[in-house]
C-alpha cells in the first residue's frame, strides 16, 4: 500500500536522525554539569549549560517546584511570572528586572528555544528575591541551599563498627571501591564543617567530605572491607565489617559503579537487616562489561513545538505540562541513581515515530510517554494494545510489533506504578490502549496520562501535585527494575 511505503521511508529517516540525537544525548554523564537546589520541602537538580565560558541555568525550571510559574518571549524580551512577582530580561543584555527591582547579571541573558537562561552565579540572588528567602550557594560544588536548610551528621563509634547519625533522613547512593565506601548525596542537603575527619577506630581510618557537580560525597576509608546498613528511619547509617562470604559472592555491579539505595519504605523495612551496598567486588571481567546495556529510562514529554497537544483550559497547553512533569520525573529518577534520557528538553517538535526510534536506538530499559488530560481524576497508566503472542523470535524486531516481546514486562511495571500512586493517595487506573508509539518500542513501555485530582483543571500543572506523582512513578521504577532487567 502506498502509505506503508511512505511510512517505511520516513521511519528510516527518523531512525537515522534519532540515532544521531541519541549519540549526542548519551555522552558520558560525567561531562553533564548539574546544579542541586535544596529547599525546606523539595530538593531537585537542574542541568547546567555553558555559554561564553560561564555556567547557565534555566530560570523557569529553577522556580517551577515552588509554585505557578510561566514565561513568554516577545522578540528579544523574556518575561517570567512567578505567583505575583515578575522578572524581565532581554537577550544579550546583562541588566533586567526582578521582583520590581533593577537587577544586574554577571553575564548576558541567553534566550534559547524560548527558555530564559541566566548565569548560575546570579541564581541565588534571583531566587532569594523571588522566594523571599535566605540562600547559601556552594559554588565549587554547585549546591544551592534555600531557607537555611542543611543536614548535618555526627559519628558515633560502636562496638562493632561506626554509626553516622544525620539530622534528617537521607537516601544516598552507596558504592564500594577497594578499601573505600562511597556515599553520594544528590537529593540530601548534607553539609560538613570539615573536609576530613581522622578517626581512631578499628574499622575506619578517616571520613572525607567533598562537594562537586551538585553532589556531596562522603568517603569512608576502611581498614577492612566494609558494609553499610540503613536504620529504618533513614537517619542513621551503620558501617560494619563485611561478612567474609560477601567477598566471594558474585558482584552485584561493575566496580566503581554506584549502587542505588532501596526506595524509602520499600526494601528496607527492618533495622539493619539489608545491606545497602556490597562488599568490595572483584575487578570487572570482559563478560560483565559487555553483558547488558545500562539501565536507562527514557522520558518522552508528549507533543511540543508545533504540536501543542490538548488545550487543557484557556491557557494551559498539554505540551508545557508534559515537559514540566518530565523534568520533575527526571529529577526524581536521578535522585534514585537512575540514568535518564529525554526525547525533548525544550519546546521543540519531535515526530512521534522519531521518539520510538530514539528509545530503540538508545536501548533504553524503560520508556515512559508522558501526557496530560483535563478530565480526571488522577493518573491513568497505559500499556500497548498488543498481543504478547505476536512476538517472533529472530535477530530483527518488526517495527509495528516491537513492543510484543516486552508487553508483559510493561504490564507488570504498570501495575507497580498504579500501586505506588495509590500508596501516595493519587487515584489511578491501568489499561491497555492504542497510544502512539508504544507498539514501536522495544523496551518496557508505558504511557502515563496525568489528569487533575479534582475539578480544578489547573491543578494538573501544580508543582506539588506533579512532584507527588513523579515520586510515586520513580519509586515504582526502582521497585520494578529487577524484573525489567531480567526480561531484557
Amino acid at each position: 500500500m502506498p502509505w506503508s511505503k511512505y511510512r517505511r521511508r520516513s521511519q528510516g529517516a527518523a531512525a537515522v536522525a534519532a540515532l544521531l540525537l541519541v549519540l549526542l544525548a548519551s555522552a558520558p554523564s560525567a561531562e553533564e554539569k548539574q546544579l542541586s537546589i535544596y529547599g525546606p520541602r523539595v530538593s531537585y537538580s537542574l542541568p547546567v549549560s555553558e555559554h561564553e565560558g560561564q555556567d547557565y541555568v534555566a530560570l523557569l525550571e529553577a522556580l517551577e517546584p515552588f509554585g505557578n510559574v510561566s514565561a513568554r518571549a516577545e522578540g528579544a524580551k523574556w518575561k517570567l511570572r512567578f505567583n505575583r512577582l515578575e522578572a524581565e530580561f532581554r537577550q544579550g543584555t546583562s541588566v533586567g528586572k526582578v521582583a520590581g527591582q533593577k537587577f544586574g547579571l554577571p553575564g548576558r541573558f541567553v534566550l534559547e528555544n524560548g527558555r530564559g537562561l541566566v548565569p548560575l552565579r546570579a541564581l541565588p540572588a534571583i531566587l532569594g528575591l523571588m522566594l523571599a528567602t535566605r540562600t547559601e550557594y556552594h559554588e565549587a560544588g554547585r549546591r544551592l541551599f534555600l531557607g537555611g536548610v542543611a543536614t548535618h551528621f555526627t559519628t558515633d563509634p560502636r562496638e562493632n563498627g561506626l554509626r553516622l547519625n544525620f539530622s534528617a533522613p537521607v537516601n544516598p547512593l552507596i558504592g564500594t571501591e577497594p578499601g573505600k565506601l562511597k556515599m553520594s548525596f544528590t537529593r540530601d542537603a548534607v553539609v560538613a564543617n570539615a573536609s576530613i575527619l581522622k578517626l581512631e577506630n578499628p574499622l575506619v581510618s578517616s571520613i572525607t567530605f567533598s562537594e562537586s557537580n551538585g553532589e556531596a560525597e562522603l568517603v569512608v576509608l576502611g581498614r577492612v572491607p566494609l558494609l553499610a546498613q540503613f536504620a529504618a528511619d533513614r537517619k542513621a547509617i551503620e558501617i560494619v565489617p563485611a561478612p567474609s562470604e560477601a567477598q566471594s559472592a558474585p558482584p552485584a555491579a561493575i566496580a566503581g559503579t554506584a549502587l542505588p539505595a532501596a526506595a524509602p519504605g520499600t526494601a528496607l523495612p527492618a533495622v539493619g537487616t539489608l545491606p545497602a551496598a556490597v562488599a568490595v567486588p572483584p575487578p570487572p571481567t570482559l563478560q560483565s562489561l559487555t553483558a547488558k546495556p545500562a539501565f536507562v529510562v527514557m522520558l518522552d514529554a508528549g507533543h511540543g513545538g508545533d504540536d501543542r497537544g490538548a488545550l487543557l483550559n484557556e491557557t494551559l497547553e498539554e505540551k508545557g505540562v508534559t515537559l514540566a512533569f518530565a523534568r520533575r520525573l527526571r529529577s526524581e529518577l536521578q535522585g534514585h541513581g537512575i540514568s535518564v534520557v529525554m526525547s525533548r528538553d525544550a519546546d521543540v517538535t519531535v515526530a512521534v515515530e522519531q521518539r520510538a526510534a530514539m528509545a530503540d536506538a538508545a536501548r533504553v530499559a524503560v520508556y515512559l510517554s508522558l501526557h496530560a488530560a483535563s478530565q480526571g481524576p488522577g493518573v491513568r497508566v497505559y500499556t500497548a494494545l498488543i498481543n504478547s503472542a505476536s512476538s517472533k523470535p529472530g535477530g530483527f524486531v518488526p517495527w509495528d510489533t516491537a513492543q510484543a516481546r516486552y508487553v508483559l514486562s510493561s504490564r507488570a511495571l504498570a501495575e507497580l506504578v498504579k500501586a505506588e500512586l495509590l500508596k501516595h493517595e493519587i487515584p489511578s487506573s491501568q489499561l491497555s490502549a492504542p497510544v502512539k508509539p508504544l507498539n514501536n518500542v522495544a523496551a518496557a513501555a508505558l504511557a502515563i496520562e496525568v489528569a487533575p485530582s479534582g475539578a480544578d483543571v489547573g491543578s494538573v500543572s501544580a508543582g506539588v501535585y506533579q512532584q507527588r506523582i513523579a515520586a510515586a512513578i520513580a519509586e515504582a521504577v526502582v521497585v520494578g527494575r529487577a524484573r525489567v532487567e531480567a526480561e531484557r
Binding site: G302, A310, S374, I386, L431, V435, N439
Partner: protein
C-alpha cells in the same frame, strides 16, 4: 368629516386589528403544535430495508466505560452499507447534545469498505478527527466504540482500519494510533477493562 365616515373608518380599523390578532393567535397555535410533533427529518438519505436490531457499543466519558445498547434501525442488504449505517447511527448518538461522549458537529462515517472476508476499512469525515477532543482516554473510547460496534454487527470481521477523509492519519487527535489495524482479540482486552 361626517359621522357616518367616522364610524366606517373606526369599524375598518377595528376589523384590521381583529384580523391581526386572529392571525397572530393562529401562528402561535401552529408553532405550538409543530413543537409537539416528533422530529421526523432524516439526518441522512433514508435507507431502504427492513428494521433490524443491532448492538451499539456506546462510550461514556464519565465513568469511562463502553456499554452495549440495543437499537432498531433500517438496514440495507449489502454488508458494507450495513456497516456504514450502523456506525452512522453510533456517531449520531455522539453528535447529539447532550451526549455522554461528545463528538464534533459534522462527525460521521462516510464509508465502510470490506477489503476481504476479515478486514474492514472505515472512512470517517475529516470533522470527526479535526474536531475530536485530544487525550489518550477520550480518543481510546472513540476508537474502541467504533471498532467494537462494527465487529459485533458484521460477523467474520476481525480486523478494522480507520481512515480519515480517505487518507491514513497518524493519530486520531494526537494520541490514539490510526496507522494500525485493530483486531478483535486485542480490542477485547481493552473492552474488558472499559466495562
Amino acid at each position: 368629516m361626517t359621522r357616518a365616515l367616522t364610524i366606517g373608518t373606526g369599524l375598518l380599523l377595528a376589523a384590521v386589528l381583529g384580523m391581526g390578532a386572529y392571525l397572530y393567535s393562529l401562528r402561535r397555535n401552529e408553532q405550538a403544535r409543530a413543537q409537539n410533533l416528533p422530529d421526523t427529518r432524516p439526518i441522512s438519505a433514508p435507507v431502504m430495508g427492513p428494521a433490524s436490531r443491532v448492538t451499539l457499543y456506546l462510550a461514556y466519558d464519565d465513568p469511562g466505560v463502553v456499554r452495549a445498547q440495543e437499537a432498531s434501525i433500517a438496514l440495507p442488504a449489502d454488508p458494507a452499507e450495513r456497516g456504514r449505517e450502523i456506525l452512522h447511527t453510533l456517531v449520531g448518538e455522539y453528535v447529539k447534545r447532550p451526549s455522554a461522549h461528545e463528538l464534533p458537529a459534522g462527525a460521521d462515517v462516510k464509508d465502510v469498505f470490506l477489503v476481504d472476508a476479515n478486514t474492514a476499512v472505515v472512512d470517517t469525515t475529516e470533522a470527526l478527527a479535526e474536531g475530536h477532543r485530544s487525550g489518550v482516554f477520550v480518543e481510546t473510547l472513540t476508537v474502541a466504540s467504533l471498532v467494537k460496534t462494527l465487529t459485533a454487527n458484521l460477523p467474520g470481521i476481525t480486523r478494522v482500519k480507520i481512515l480519515v477523509d480517505g487518507k491514513e492519519r497518524e493519530t486520531l487527535a494526537g494520541h490514539a494510533d490510526l496507522e494500525c489495524f485493530y483486531d478483535v482479540v486485542t480490542m477485547e482486552q481493552l473492552l474488558e477493562q472499559l466495562r
